[in-house]
Symmetry: C2
Subunit: 456 residues, 2 copies
Amino acid sequence: GADVLPNGHYGTSIKLNWALDFNRGILLAHKMNGEPLRPDHGRPLRVVVPGQIGGRSVKWLKRLILTDSPSTNWYHINDNRLLPTMVSPEMASEDPKWWRDDRYAIFDLNVNSSVVYPENNEELVIASAPSTYTVKGYAYSGGGRRITRVEISLDKGRSWHLAHIDYAEDKYRNFEGDLFGGKVDMYWRETCFCWSFWSLDIPVSDLQASDAILVRAMDESLAVQPRDMYWSVLGMMNNPWFRVTITNENGRLKFEHPTHPTKTGGWMERVKKAGGDLANGYWGETVQGEAPAQQESAKEINMRREGLSRLIELQELKDHVSNGEPWFIVNGEVYDGTEFLRDHPGGAQSIISSAGMDVSEEFLAIHSETARIMMPGYHIGTLSTSALAVLQDNGLEEQNNSTEPRKTFLQSRYWSKTTLVRKKIVSSDSRIFTFELEHPKQTLGLPVGRHLMIKV
Amino acid sequence: GADVLPNGHYGTSIKLNWALDFNRGILLAHKMNGEPLRPDHGRPLRVVVPGQIGGRSVKWLKRLILTDSPSTNWYHINDNRLLPTMVSPEMASEDPKWWRDDRYAIFDLNVNSSVVYPENNEELVIASAPSTYTVKGYAYSGGGRRITRVEISLDKGRSWHLAHIDYAEDKYRNFEGDLFGGKVDMYWRETCFCWSFWSLDIPVSDLQASDAILVRAMDESLAVQPRDMYWSVLGMMNNPWFRVTITNENGRLKFEHPTHPTKTGGWMERVKKAGGDLANGYWGETVQGEAPAQQESAKEINMRREGLSRLIELQELKDHVSNGEPWFIVNGEVYDGTEFLRDHPGGAQSIISSAGMDVSEEFLAIHSETARIMMPGYHIGTLSTSALAVLQDNGLEEQNNSTEPRKTFLQSRYWSKTTLVRKKIVSSDSRIFTFELEHPKQTLGLPVGRHLMIKV
């Protein structure tokens, strides 16, 4: 790929026999749905490997290389791996052999299914509800394998109901004519790459009598979603039974997904806060006859080093912005990220870019408990109140106060003000916001494939 | 196939895109290991579909048919199906739609692994044992997918150890030269069709502290063996974690497999006899804090109809041998198999062949509890003592007592005596026994693909 990342260009590989296999339908795409490919989708040329994890579909394609062994690209080796479950973060970081064994590379997607309705936090008033509720969701598998059944349980997996499955993809097989300028040769291939949609009408009385809706799918290779999570270092490809809890409160059924898609919440957080063990084989709920779970959680994680009382002033912080020792601020405390540059799962660049900045919000939004527990090791002191005030006002680097207008609008190290001039409603869930630059000749300054942050 | 079975010639189908896929290596075989195919392996020509269930590899191939829909052959529809788990035997027998949905046809083998050592009933004397024991077994998957890991747990699946895997098949990839007259084009294909062999050295002290060895495998599509069994009507394709129990008795560790490969025994039978519930999610063992399992099993299944007192004499039995109402004898009781001819999973022929015979041994050896529970429905009376004596002596049909030697040695309806004249040791687990016919011109009388029974 033409994209430059902290550890070089992005690159990866797939097996030659997969690339040559017509059934897999691997393609080089320069258009999508009849329109030119958009820059963020890899314009001008992108590899598309249907049925495999997205990391194999290289964007901004520059080069195809035929080799007799797997890619040695940093991202091929260190990303998209499902290491064996007993490999701890320490083992993985100490011994490169775990990463270099290509058997642990993730290619095909695994069989998966999920509930969409009821949604997270959806409520159903029993008195006014119709007699049945239609539970709905999606299911897919990898490698072109068809989902052959989706099953729903209301009694912890003891018994199952068969859902109806709609294979939207099959409509393309039977379509006569041109589609976006090309024929679809799907019919004879019988391969399935897209989501299928399942649904099941469930009597509301059955929902009322149940504590959770469980869903699992099976594909044509007879792979079935496992009951429990397969834990692995990178945390990818989880496909345990999808579970929506049901709570009956004052005549309403309240449904909860495992997590909330964009914010905190969901039954996993609730169970965790109540001190439940999510790995107890019963989704953290108390098992009948089991000793009550220990109330050990719910305490705040301390990110400060015990007994440290060093006060850091503005000048000292400034001195560490560009000397290769990135100091950054979380909750008024100063951390030295130097030692962690090599091991940071998000790459060294994101720490380097934070040098001299108050990154409290970004840090807490992205990082897990495990990351927070590591923080005291990098804690070097507390920022003085006056320094913190300067930092929170306009950042460490003074903005350009000259009357000369800036050539580039976005600055990576401080916030820039802008005005919203137009809002266009595209569809039920999409809007186009148009913001004003400072002058007509100014460029935005956002490279392809990067994100910008907006604070309202 | 050229074989004639109770419901016509054997036939089945695979998908066209699979048949055309080089990666799948589907072939028409007339030789095996450089030797002509043996009659029992389908001489002169057999389809071989590696990575798929054996039922797709048609023997004695007569014809290949290209159709735009799956085969309508009786065996394609009614065999090798994995019906959804909630389909009961009654639902399956009443509604043909379950069988005609090709999504439930079994093609690819699913991921599986098994323990070979320790063997069932193997014992290890702790005092004289070396410090580690090497647990060994095999693992395979379907569709050419490589086994990517085999994991062993000694604590009910809470934690896992990684086993070493030997891919014997890979030796063929790297082999230079001819193999049985043909080149092996395995290298570029990277597909895996054979068993792999795993092993793990486990400290004997760890085995001593454990109640069972659990094994599971994962393949390159990230399919992992499920913890629990997927129940289905035909009972095929079971691949839950393989479990070998460990019992510490007087300084010896005793190992038990789920079942004994050829006779009764194994921990499943032990748990069942003790009244344990094999489907309780803990392999029927009593869970800590759980109410003790009900002692409901261990009673004999009654195969006689309640209150029936009809006594049947020899002549009446004789009258029902060839009139299309096959009466047969189990444990001195007479059963009328007429009503069950259509539904018998083993085919009508095996009931018809049993007409007028005492089939106690064969019946009890083959049939499950479920089958025995059905027997009172077909029970019509008790055979008189004198009739039973005649039957047990030499069968209902008198043997040919003339001096004229028989042209055909084997008779389907009674036992024939023969003398063992030679025993040749082929390998550690194979012997060739040679029996003498009555005269040189006699034929054996065993069609290809059928079994004979030997009583010593």
